[in-house]
Structure formats: C-alpha cells, structure tokens
C-alpha cells in the first residue's frame, strides 16, 4: 500500500504527504533528534549517515552527511527559520555535490489525523530549472542504486 503522495505544484513547488501511525509529537521528534534521523533518512539501499548534526531551534543549523560502501558521498546543510513544537518546521537547505545547489525552502507540517499524523512537506525552489535539477539528482541516486544491484547479479 502506498501511503505517500508526491506532486509538483506550479513551477517551483514539490509537495509530499504521508500518514504515520504515531502521534505528531513522535513524528516531529523523529525529524529533529539526530539519533532518530540517522535511522531512517537514508534514501536508497546501501547509504548511511555517519554525520548528523541538528540544532532544532530558530536560526539553528543542521548538517547531514551520507556515504555508501563505494566511498561515494554528499552532504546537506541548512538552517531553521521557524519551529512550532510538534506541529511545524520551516527550514532552508542545499545539497553539496560538491557544489551547493540553490536553496530549497521546506515547510513541514505535522497534523493529528485519526490516531496518527498527516505530514505535509512543501518544498519551494527558486525556479523551475532548479526544481528539475533536484528531481534529476533523485534519479541519479536511483540509477546508482540500480547499478549496485546489477553488479551484485553479474
């Protein structure tokens, strides 16, 4: 069952929604506590996050570093603009590949939904080209993961 939705909106937005069977407090903590973030924010199979810094306060910085078994890696840095405890996070982030991508403004809401939480993440990119570039980066990761699996079969 696919519980997630992902869609583009206008020229510059990407909207992601996902339901979780846990209260907003827990989902919020899993997004701000480095020890919890390191367990799930990993992307395709084979990647780990050895460095996870997250200062969950207005103006606080975060830094996530990913690596895989082949020694490839990249990182994201960002700053918090606004936090409403257990309900909303607003931050800007950029990916370093190693050159920094243009800033992505991300607003994440955690709304009570039945016994669980509806998370709504709204990304705002500076322009359509940057958004396409971000989506293309996702594709590249996906392709790398496919290649790794392919190597395993040969």
């Amino acid at each position: 069952m696919s519980k997630m939705t992902l869609k583009t909106e206008g020229d510059t937005h990407v909207i992601v929604t996902r339901h979780f069977a846990a209260p907003p407090e827990a989902v919020y903590r899993a997004h701000t506590d480095p020890k919890l973030i390191q367990k799930w924010l990993l992307g395709p199979e084979g990647w780990t996050m050895p460095v996870c810094i997250n200062e969950a306060k207005p103006g606080g910085k975060f830094r996530y570093e990913w690596t895989n078994a082949k020694g490839q890696g990249f990182h994201i840095t960002g700053e918090y603009l606004e936090l409403q405890l257990y309900s909303k996070l607003v931050h800007i982030e950029r990916m370093h590949l190693p050159d920094a991508t243009p800033d992505n403004r991300v607003e994440t809401r955690f709304d009570a939904d039945g016994n669980g939480t509806l998370m709504t993440m709204r990304m705002t990119l500076p322009d359509a080209q940057t958004r396409a570039g971000m989506l293309a980066t996702g594709m590249q990761r996906g392709m790398e993961a496919s290649y790794v699996r392919l190597e395993g079969m040969i």
Binding site: M4, A26, L42
Partner: protein, 112 residues
C-alpha cells in the same frame, strides 16, 4: 524502441540534464540554452547533438533558427526523475514507520 543505453549515457552529464530541465519549460534556441551555462555555442551544440542522438530532444526549422524541444523520451525522462525521488522518499518513510513503532514500544515499556 529508442536507444536506452544512449539515453542513459546522455543523462549522465549534469549540463545535459540541466539542458533538459530548461527545455521542460518550453522550446529554446541554442543561444538561449547557452546563456545560463557560460559555455560557448559549439560546446552547447555538442551536448545538443548527444541529446538528439539519444532521442531525448528534437529540432524544428524556424527561418535561420533551429529551436529545440523535448522529445517524447525526454518527457518520459523527466517523469522518471519524479519517480526515482518518490522511491527514495517512500523507502525513507517505510524506515520511519519502524523507528516510530520502536519509539512507541519504548514509551510503553517505560510506563510499566
């Protein structure tokens, strides 16, 4: 069926992906495409040739101009990018489900 290998290697270059991203917004001339990349026209033309050979873009004749636009395979590539991001995110959130399940158990254990 178009050349999948050609499309894959054509997409391996970040400039060519950026060109596709620009063309996703609409048709553009070589000059318009060269501008944001600080590249010479011949360098851009070389990239366009690779994208054309891979069947990702097509050209139109408009007087002396040859504007390029996305071919069907190029549009499909853009859709695939969205699909790959979706997959990576879905994997993350499946893992998060497990993390949240673990937190709940931990909490209940503390209360007892």
């Amino acid at each position: 069926m178009h050349d999948l290998d050609g499309a894959f290697s054509a997409l391996a270059d970040p400039t060519r992906r950026a060109i596709l991203a620009r063309l996703a917004k609409g048709e553009a001339t070589v000059n318009e495409l060269a501008e944001p990349f600080e590249m010479t026209q011949p360098a851009i033309s070389q990239h366009l040739k690779v994208l054309e050979a891979a069947g990702l873009i097509v050209r139109r004749v408009d007087g002396t101009k040859r504007p390029r636009r996305l071919a069907k395979a190029g549009v499909e590539a853009m859709d695939q990018w969205l699909g790959a991001l979706r997959k990576a995110l879905e994997k993350n959130y499946d893992r998060l489900d497990e993390v949240l399940g673990g937190m709940e158990k931990h909490k209940k254990g503390e209360k007892r």
